[in-house]
């Protein structure tokens, strides 16, 4: 497969995953703003922005509707949902012949639905997240069911896994764990709401309850979001997927050893597989998730070094 094609598929997938995460952040925090809360409106939305990596051009200026509108519809921003979908489509368009018609049509339909009509500020925020999530899921389904599960598909998996692991790690990193610790004795109802919000941002609330019942505790929530083996939005699950796709890629290409990449990804996977949540909490949640984001960035650059932007003389000497 051409390196350029792999690059486009990877970013198409990352942008769609980013769109999905942003939709959920917007939807959950929008409804939480309606409830009375220990967190101020300003604090909440600043944290949302921090969880999204403090994207350029999106700022809290006191108007919650303005920010929500920008997060959903600002075409100019690559962090807004519309911006992400447009960027994903642009990437797909460059490799139109490498994806299936089902994928292209679904992506195109979604793109036209979000860009055709930009509503007034504050409008459509009720319907927009649900229908966009639905569109994104349809695309996911079209990808899994219509595309050959070969090299291109693996790059799509890699893009999604890296984006998801990074996003969840960042979200956990900006959550106010200290505040939740101090009230966890009394477990005030407001704190419960914050925890439920966090889980719902990761589409994890129902799955969490299936494992732990509705008994919300800090170690269990962290255990679930970071280390659960089966839940598709946990960091560990994403890294397992990433590792698996990287190995399939190496087997398929037959040439590349990509030794360092295997080592770094394998080490990250092992550290998540054999980790105790008590160790994480002793070490501090912040530094732990920060390290995961760092490792993901490192893996990204190694993928690019080995598969996409490799040096000509290095490739010729292999």
């Amino acid at each position: 497969m051409l390196s350029r094609v792999a690059d486009s598929l990877y970013w198409m997938s990352r942008y769609l995953e980013r769109a999905e995460h942003t939709v959920r952040m917007l939807d959950v925090n929008f409804s939480m703003t309606l409830d009375p809360s220990s967190t101020s409106e300003e604090g909440r939305w600043k944290r949302v922005l921090a969880a999204l990596g403090n994207p350029e051009g999106l700022e809290w200026n006191g108007d919650f509707y303005a920010l929500a509108h920008a997060l959903a519809f600002d075409r100019e921003s690559r962090a807004s949902i519309t911006g992400c979908i447009a960027a994903a489509r642009e990437n797909a368009r460059q490799v139109r012949e490498e994806i299936t018609s089902e994928q292209w049509q679904q992506l195109n339909r979604m793109y036209h639905r979000v860009t055709d009509e930009v509503p007034e500020k504050g409008d459509r925020l009720d319907e927009f997240p649900a229908s966009t999530l639905n569109d994104l899921h349809l695309f996911q389904g079209a990808t899994d069911t219509s595309m050959s599960h070969g090299e291109g598909w693996h790059f799509i998996q890699i893009g999604r896994a890296i984006e998801r692991a990074t996003a969840i790690a960042t979200l956990i990193g900006v959550f106010d764990w200290d505040a939740s610790e101090s009230v966890s004795e009394g477990a005030g109802s407001q704190q419960f709401l914050e925890w439920i919000g966090l889980l719902r941002c990761c589409t994890a609330f129902e799955s969490y309850c299936n494992v732990y019942t509705a008994d919300l505790t800090q170690p269990q929530i962290l255990q679930f979001l970071l280390l659960n083996k089966e839940f598709p939005h946990s960091v560990r699950y994403s890294i397992d997927q990433l590792r698996w796709a990287l190995m399939a890629l190496q087997e398929g290409s037959g040439r590349l050893v990509a030794e360092e990449l295997s080592r770094v990804a394998g080490r990250l996977q092992a550290s998540l597989n054999f980790c105790e949540i008590s160790e994480v909490m002793a070490q501090g949640v912040g530094p732990y998730v920060h390290n995961i984001s760092h490792q993901c960035r490192h893996i990204h650059s190694l993928i690019y070094r080995d598969y996409i932007h490799y040096k000509v003389h290095v490739a010729l000497s292999q």
Partner: protein
């Protein structure tokens, strides 16, 4: 003048020309057929009716089939053809729009039919022409015998912007310069085909030929079958084997790629289509790297050597080191790799010399010089502005001539005499005098019309529209003309412009066995 059929049953009614050239002539058309209520005939050759207004034998079945279909059935087939075009993604890009909008290529439901005898002549004529032009390119870029013998003036060759001095003395594989040609033909009033121009650089449109055939076969399966139409579906295979046969020596299993300028090019759909049909990689300039004069493409499994490039990028943009330095579509060092014989480009560099509009006037002489034969397909009469006698003749008759700038295409930089004002004529006279090499003049041509399905969905009618014909010629180990081509239609009434950016469309072209 048109009359509803039911008022004059079985009557022959005069239909009057609206053609620009006056010289009115009338012919009867059978008006019992409700779909023909707006049909008209004049001195222009009509593909379906002869000059007496009688249906030509090979159009009889088609006309009967269409006439027997009720409006709803016609509409239904039209609708399913529309959907078929859309789902296949048969689009072209319109420039000037913010995002480079893709549009469905306009098409017409009535196929254009060419008899076996007509086609055989076209085929022989094209093979002759392309063979001669290829010999000409090989000669000019090597010994220059034809220049020495004075059959083509040196000034015309050396002043052509598409002449590439870099090609001098280069041996190209099998001496084939023009692997792919699309030659534009017109049928004049007397029914004979003439060559309007050769496209020897990066001709496009073949994907529309292939996809509209697929759609038409689905829309009119029985008619298609009873006609006995020669197949064209093997075009991608013929192209692939032509490209394969041109691989550099010592590369028995060549890697062939299609080089596209990218997603914003108006023919991008065609590039993806052909790459997919041939099963070859579609690459952009940034996918290729040159090392030690060898071309590689960047893949996720490392660098892969490339042997043949079917390039859809113009000479000017293909190598910033050899040609235009500001090009970002090309590959630095590609020309050196080409000169070193490590990669084949199809078409070769510098083929644009042979489709220069001034050189065109010399093609009959070129055919006679190399092949010792008379041209089978004639040229359009052409006046060279570099020749003072011809220039004076043109100046005296500007109102009847078409003046074309030799470097322009797509209908730009033209003066159409009969539709021009005195001021425009004076302006062109000045321009020609300032730079005579840049212009030629030709008589205004009245080319043939073909029946087209016009009107609203619920009120369709068959009307004549001007058409041209672009067959595709492939040159590998031999010259092959795929029987058919792109018939382009000027869908606007009275229009002579078949260009898709200016209201033109296409229709399927059926070449019959018999």
């Amino acid at each position: 003048m048109t009359l509803p059929a039911n008022e004059l049953p079985n009557a022959a009614v005069e239909a009057v020309s609206t053609a620009p050239n006056g010289n009115r002539k009338s012919a009867p058309v059978d008006l019992t057929n409700r779909y023909l209520r707006s049909y008209f005939l004049d001195h222009a050759y009509d593909e379906m009716f002869d000059s007496e207004g009688k249906v030509r034998p090979h159009y009889r079945l088609l006309l009967d089939t269409f006439s027997s279909l009720p409006e709803e059935e016609l509409a239904r087939r039209k609708h399913s053809a529309d959907i078929s075009f859309r789902t296949q993604g048969i689009t072209f890009t319109v420039y000037g729009n913010q995002e480079g909008t893709e549009r469905i290529f306009p098409y017409d439901m009535l196929p254009r039919i060419i008899t076996g005898a007509e086609w055989d002549r076209i085929e022989r004529g094209l093979i002759q022409r392309i063979t001669a032009l290829n010999l000409f390119l090989g000669d000019v870029y090597n010994d220059g015998k034809i220049l020495r013998d004075g059959f083509v003036p040196r000034e015309i060759v050396y002043s052509c912007p598409h002449f590439r001095r870099e090609m001098r003395g280069l041996q190209v594989p099998r001496n084939v310069y023009i692997a792919v040609t699309g030659t534009d033909l017109l049928r004049l009033n007397d029914g004979n085909f003439v060559v309007l121009e050769d496209n020897l650089r990066v001709p496009s449109g073949v994907s529309y030929m292939l996809t509209s055939r697929r759609v038409m076969k689905r829309a009119f399966p029985q008619t298609f079958r009873s006609y006995g139409v020669r197949p064209i579906e093997h075009y991608p295979q013929v192209l692939l084997s032509a490209l394969r046969s041109l691989a550099p020596e010592g590369r028995p299993e060549p890697t062939i790629v299609l080089l596209t300028p990218g997603v914003y090019n108006s023919a991008y759909f065609e590039h993806t289509y052909l790459a997919r049909q041939m099963g070859i990689e579609l690459v952009e300039g940034r996918d290729l790297v040159i090392h030690d004069n060898i071309v590689y493409m960047r893949t996720t499994a490392g660098l892969k050597r490339v042997d043949v490039i079917y390039r859809r990028v113009d000479d000017d943009f293909i190598d910033p080191l050899a040609f235009r330095a500001d090009s970002i579509l090309g590959v630095a060092g590609l020309f050196n790799a080409y000169r070193a014989g490590n990669v084949t480009l199809a078409n070769a560099f510098g083929t644009g010399l042979a489709d220069d509009k001034a050189l065109y006037a010399y093609v009959p002489a070129i055919i006679r010089y190399y092949l010792k034969e008379d041209p089978i397909l004639p040229n359009v009469e052409t006046f060279l502005m570099t020749d003072s006698a011809q220039r004076q003749h043109a100046f005296a008759n500007l109102e009847n001539l078409v003046v074309k700038a030799v470097g322009e295409s797509g209908g730009y930089g033209m003066l159409i005499g009969p539709h021009s004002t005195k001021e425009q004529q004076a302006e062109f006279r000045d321009r020609i005098e300032a730079n005579p090499r840049n212009y030629i003049a030709q008589p205004t041509l009245n080319f043939s019309r073909s029946p087209c399905l016009m009107g609203d969905v619920d009120d369709p009618s068959i009307e004549p529209r001007h058409v041209d014909l672009r067959p595709y010629i492939l040159y590998g180990d031999k010259v092959t003309v795929v029987p058919g081509g792109l018939t382009r239609v000027a869908l606007r009434k009275g229009s002579l412009v078949v260009n898709s950016s200016q209201g033109g469309g296409s229709k399927d072209t059926w070449v019959l066995h018999a």
